[in-house]
Amino acid sequence: MMSLVSYLIISLILFIVGLVVIIARKNIVAILLGIELILNAAALNFVAYSRYVTNNLDGHVFSLFIIVIAAAESAIGLAIVIRFFQIKETIHIDEATQLRN
């Protein structure tokens, strides 16, 4: 029997995994994926809450918007990554250390 808590736990795990990925991986695309994970964690929360706690559609709507925006964001992100690759010939994050005082 799934309960709200289990959803929350899953989303939390997603969230943390996302953070770890963002922090630990050196591949920029992977980092973008990590961000996606975090967004999905949030979306999952919304749906779960609207299912168990608040019996209205706000959560569902919100999660839909999240999906859309996540797509847009990752699109832009990837575009920039491609430019980066064209310039630096790599998508290794450590190469992005040109800007500093």
């Binding site: 963002i22 922090i23 050196k26 994050i93 450590d94 992005a96 250390t97 500093r100």
Partner: protein, 732 residues
């Protein structure tokens, strides 16, 4: 006569006017306006003489005085009233001093018109001399310590300018600086004393201070643990020491001879230097109350004797005279200390006359033969008879030979000193006061006659060098052929007039119509009738008078002056006879000593039967020639090493340390903070990030691995860490 503004103001103002005119238009006036200065002094002499006549021939009681005030400025607001009054305080002493100062000043001005002729500084000299005179007169006539202090400082300024008048001479600069600063040391303390008195008594007018003493307002008052009376008395006497060049503040006076001789005659011999004695006399009751008279006496004795010893070896006429001045001032101070009030004052007057005369004579010698080194002079008697006559008279006077003025005053001082030292039951150590005093008297006679003999007697040594005087190295004195002095009235008349005053008048007995002429310092010289220590009781709540109001009492009501001898101010003295005997002994002693001194000098410098000291005690002589090394001590040790060293250190500290670290510190801190953030970015991030070494390694492997990956991710870590800490804090 009425003491209205019109009668008093000219005494001070006419020289001031002369000063102003000469200061601005002197160069345009004929003869640079020296006649104007002289005239102005003459005017103030006339007005002083009126006061003198009114007091001295007017048969006033000894303690009659005029005290009139006007408000200088007023700070009263609402409830608290506070204003500063100025005014005149005239008693017999003031009258006599005024006349002496203006008279001597007039004669010296007259002489200077001859002496300063064709001198490049002619104009400037006659600008400052009248200003000085008016300041001196103002100091004499002023009724309170504050205005006295003002005039006192202005005198100091004039003396500064006149000493340094020959600006081209480096030494003139040193001398003037030294003179001003040394006296300034005393002056600041004087100011301090005045402030202390003013703020505790509410006024510094003489009459109020006397009244306060009588009413015992000083009782229980203390300043920093010392009783107020002692504190203020000491401060004021320190001021006196500065001005009157008492040991150890005496160093400036000999150097002050850099100025033109007549200037020295007026300022550094006759008048200004006696200002210290003057204020000590005015504040005598305070000195007694503060119980520092013994200190005063000792200081005086040391100065009197020490200066005399130094004077013995000087070869420059003016230097000899300068040291003799020091020594004579010492006697006056002794007089104050041992409580022979009127003798001390009398010595001020007599000394002023004969010392002025001596300086003028020296001046006329220097001006005529352009030489002031005694060993190079000699035999001038036949060339300058008038000068010789005048100088001899004054020398006899200063040496304390009977029938001359110096004898009267000095011998009474010594007599009182004798009583003070041996008979008054004081601390036996104080016996040094009379001992040094008498020794000094002998030396005085010796060195003065040494000077006379070297200068006027023996063969003329002009033209060829004398091994003795060489190291004083005054330019070249070849080719000054000796010529008879051409008789210039402006040169000789002042000398003769002054020399007349060295005798005669002082013995005229009572000019006030009682008693007859007596000799040997009899009790009833007119002088003693007129001057006595103030009786403080009679000043208690006497009426205030301001200008315009008529005098409180009419002369007719006043009793005739009756002379009561006394030492100190405290009424008739119990052991009268002791004092009298002391006087007799003193008189005889001083005569003997004086003649011995003269005789020794005669043997040394005329007979040549004894060779001069120098050959006998070379070491002692060099010490004397270096003036006991006081100058070296002050300048090399205290000033150069001490003061300037401290200054340099402080200023280095201020700019080098204080400014650099304490003040630019904040900027430094910011730079450090900036560096820190930079270091955070570069070192922490890169060092830990790039090469895995670093503290973090051993700390926490996971963290290391996490952090390993470059910059933007380090931002993420920061974000999350801070976020976690926020959440943590928020949840508490």
């Amino acid at each position: 006569m009425e003491y209205t503004v019109g009668n008093i103001a000219p005494i001070i103002l006419s020289p001031v006017i002369a000063f102003v005119i000469n200061a601005f238009f002197g160069s345009k006036l004929p003869r640079k306006g020296d006649w104007l200065a002289t005239l102005s002094i003459f005017i103030s002499f006339i007005f002083s003489a009126r006061v003198f006549g009114d007091f001295v021939f007017g048969n006033f009681a000894t303690d009659y005085f005029i005290h009139k005030t006007f408000t200088w400025f007023d700070l009263s607001y609402g409830a608290n009233i506070w204003k500063v009054d100025m005014g005149i305080y005239i008693d017999n002493m003031t009258a006599i001093m005024l006349t002496m100062v203006s008279g001597v000043a007039f004669l010296i001005h007259l002489f200077s018109t001859w002496y300063m002729d064709h001198d490049e500084k002619h104009g400037r000299f006659f600008t400052f001399l009248p200003l000085f005179t008016s300041a001196m007169l103002g100091m004499v006539i002023s009724d309170n310590l504050f205005s006295l202090f003002c005039f006192w400082e202005i005198m100091g300024f004039c003396s500064y300018s006149l000493i340094g008048i020959y600006v081209k001479k480096e030494k003139a600069g040193d001398a003037s600086l030294k003179a001003f600063m040394t006296t300034r040391v005393g002056d600041v303390f004087l100011l301090l004393g005045i402030v202390a008195l003013w703020m505790t008594l509410g006024s510094v007018a003489y009459v109020d201070i006397y009244a306060a003493i009588a009413e015992g307002k000083f009782a229980g008052q203390t300043v920093m643990g010392i009783s107020l009376a002692t504190f203020t008395a000491l401060c004021i006497f320190l001021g006196a020491m500065g001005k009157s060049a008492q040991f150890p503040l005496h160093v400036w006076l000999p150097d002050a001879m850099m100025g033109p001789t007549p200037g020295s005659a007026l300022i550094h011999a006759a008048t200004m230097v006696t200002a210290g004695v003057w204020i000590s006399l005015r504040m005598y009751p305070l000195m007694v109350l503060g119980d520092i008279t013994w200190f005063i006496a000792v200081i005086g004795a040391i100065t009197a004797f020490g200066a005399a010893t130094v004077a013995m070896v000087q070869t420059d006429i003016k230097a000899v005279l300068a040291y003799s001045t020091l020594s004579q001032l010492g006697y006056m101070i002794i007089g104050v200390g041992v409580g022979s009030y009127n003798a001390a004052f009398m010595h001020v007057i007599t000394h002023a006359v004969f010392k002025a005369c001596l300086f003028l004579s020296a001046g006329s010698i220097i001006h005529s033969v352009h030489e002031q080194e005694m060993p190079k002079l000699g035999g001038l008697r036949k060339y300058m008879p008038y000068t010789h006559f005048a100088m001899m008279a004054c020398t006899l006077a200063i040496a304390g030979i009977p029938f001359f003025s110096g004898f009267v005053s000095k011998d009474r001082i010594l007599g009182d000193a004798l009583y003070f030292g041996f008979m008054a039951g004081q601390n036996p150590l104080l016996a040094i006061v009379p001992i040094l005093g008498f020794a000094g008297a002998g030396l005085t006679a010796f060195y003065m006659f040494r000077m006379m003999f070297l200068t006027f007697y023996g063969e003329n040594r002009m033209g060829h060098h004398d091994s003795h005087g060489d190291h004083h190295g005054h330019g070249d004195h070849h080719g000054h052929e000796i010529h008879h002095e051409h008789l210039d009235a402006r040169q000789n008349v002042p000398l003769l007039i002054l020399s007349v005053f060295t005798l005669g008048v002082w013995f005229a007995g009572s000019l006030t119509g009682q008693g007859i002429v007596k000799v040997f310092g009899s009790k009833t010289e007119w002088f003693k009738i007129l001057v006595e220590a103030p009786k403080v009781e009679r000043f208690v709540n006497h009426p205030r008078e301001s200008f315009g109001s008529t005098d409180a009492r009419v002369k007719a009501e006043l009793p005739k002056a009756v002379y009561v001898h006394q030492t100190g101010y405290a009424g008739p003295n119990p052991d009268e006879h002791k004092i009298h005997s002391a006087h007799v002994i003193g008189a005889i002693l001083s005569i003997i000593i004086a003649f011995t001194g003269v005789f020794i000098a005669f043997l040394m410098y005329i007979k040549k039967s004894i060779n001069p000291l120098a050959s006998k005690f070379p070491g002692f002589t060099t010490t004397l020639e270096n003036k006991y090394y006081f100058d070296n001590f002050y300048i090399d040790v205290i000033i150069k090493k001490g003061l300037l060293g401290l200054n340099r250190f402080l200023s280095w500290f201020d700019m080098g340390i204080f400014d650099r670290f304490a003040v630019d510190g904040w900027a430094a801190v910011n730079r450090v903070l900036f560096k820190a953030s930079k270091w955070f970015d570069n070192v922490v991030v890169d060092a830990i990030g790039v090469d895995g070494t670093g503290v973090a390694v051993n700390l926490f492997n996971l963290v290391l691995r996490i952090v390993q990956s470059g910059k933007i991710q380090f931002y993420f870590i920061m974000l999350i860490v801070v976020l976690a800490s926020y959440i943590w804090t928020v949840n508490i």
